[in-house]
Symmetry: C2
Subunit: 214 residues, 2 copies
């Protein structure tokens, strides 16, 4: 009796894109954009390399799609939290920074983006401009709005907004980068959560109207 020929693959037009994106994010996270092999992405997605190109025209397009699907929704959620918030600016800022910090220290896949961008911006300027416009400027705008709200309400001392907005996120981004670079070799370091909490505490203390530092 002739063996029934095993089914070698299935048509799954709907499910492919998401599976490919998930696989791509994992491989990009582990190896970086340039060093990631599309063969590996395909293998992880359970598909052949040719199939990748049925759904995404290039490696770069794959990356842009990832930013839109994985990063942007979180930023949009943060914007709506800010819009809905009714308490003080310090409270809102604490909430935004803490949840950003938790998100990025608990979620391996999200933590990959800062590393990917920092690492590859130089060699893929188009990707850098895309990320800057789509994510970074938008995040800075959100933070700046909260800072201004706080100054207007007399909660925060007057400040250089652009510089301070960068300082609000810098340590959180730093921890995300750390997680994807040195954390694997660093057994002594403090838990990322602790660093984030300490940052929020220190940052808000510095922002508050009151004693001068020197």
């Amino acid at each position: 009796m002739p063996k029934p020929p095993p089914r070698r693959w299935r048509r799954r037009k709907e499910a492919r894109p998401d599976e490919i994106l998930a696989a791509a994010l994992d491989v990009f996270r582990d190896r970086g954009f340039a060093a990631a092999r599309l063969d590996d992405v395909a293998a992880r997605a359970g598909v052949s390399k040719g199939t990748l190109y049925l759904y995404f025209p290039s490696k770069e397009a794959l990356f842009k799609a990832l930013v839109r699907e994985s990063v942007l929704p979180n930023l949009i959620r943060a914007e709506s939290v800010a819009r809905a918030h009714r308490g003080g600016a310090a409270d809102l800022l604490r909430e935004l920074l803490t949840s950003f910090g938790m998100l990025i220290t608990n979620n391996d896949r999200l933590a990959a983006f800062p590393k990917l961008m920092m690492a590859e911006a130089g060699n893929f300027p188009e990707l850098a401009r895309f990320y800057l416009r789509t994510v970074i400027y938008r995040a800075f705008r959100l933070i700046t709005a909260v800072l201004k709200r706080g100054v207007a309400a007399g909660e925060f001392a007057p400040m250089n907004y652009a510089a301070t907005a960068r300082l609000a996120v810098a340590p959180i981004i730093f921890m995300a980068l750390w997680r994807n670079s040195f954390a694997a070799h660093d057994r002594r370091g403090p838990a990322p959560r602790v660093v984030v909490e300490r940052h929020v505490e220190l940052f808000l203390a510095g922002l508050a109207i009151g004693r001068r530092s020197s």
Copy 2:
């Protein structure tokens, strides 16, 4: 009349290593470690690729030599500043962070290291461990010592040292990374110097004994 055969190259055993290192740092800075071509390094050093291998056994060895020659001396200088300092811990910390910030925002070549390490640590774990041991832990140890000095003197409130040491340098590293990734595409951003100054101000204000933040 026979043309005098032009001299095609010179023997310069002493000068080569430094010239090669300088060229390598430039190329690594511009393209990252993995994407840097040794052909480019050689060309920039005015030498052929084979010559590189007379002086350095591998691309990785080239990088380690760079860390030892370019990064370490600055760290060692900072340690001796700290040892010699006779004023308060806040003063010393301000001085260390400011000069670190100035160094890294004014010196293109030094600013390259954080980017290189963050970008390549995943794919070159041996390099990551080397940098962690040789540079990062040593820098954390220095900052921690200053923080402890400040707490002992009653200048700073008690704290989690490991977390706070990371927060002291995080924004400065962040600016170095920014400089090598997004700065080229970012016309609006504040001057790095301003961000560093603002960080030092904010950080020291947060550290000081006094009002609680909430």
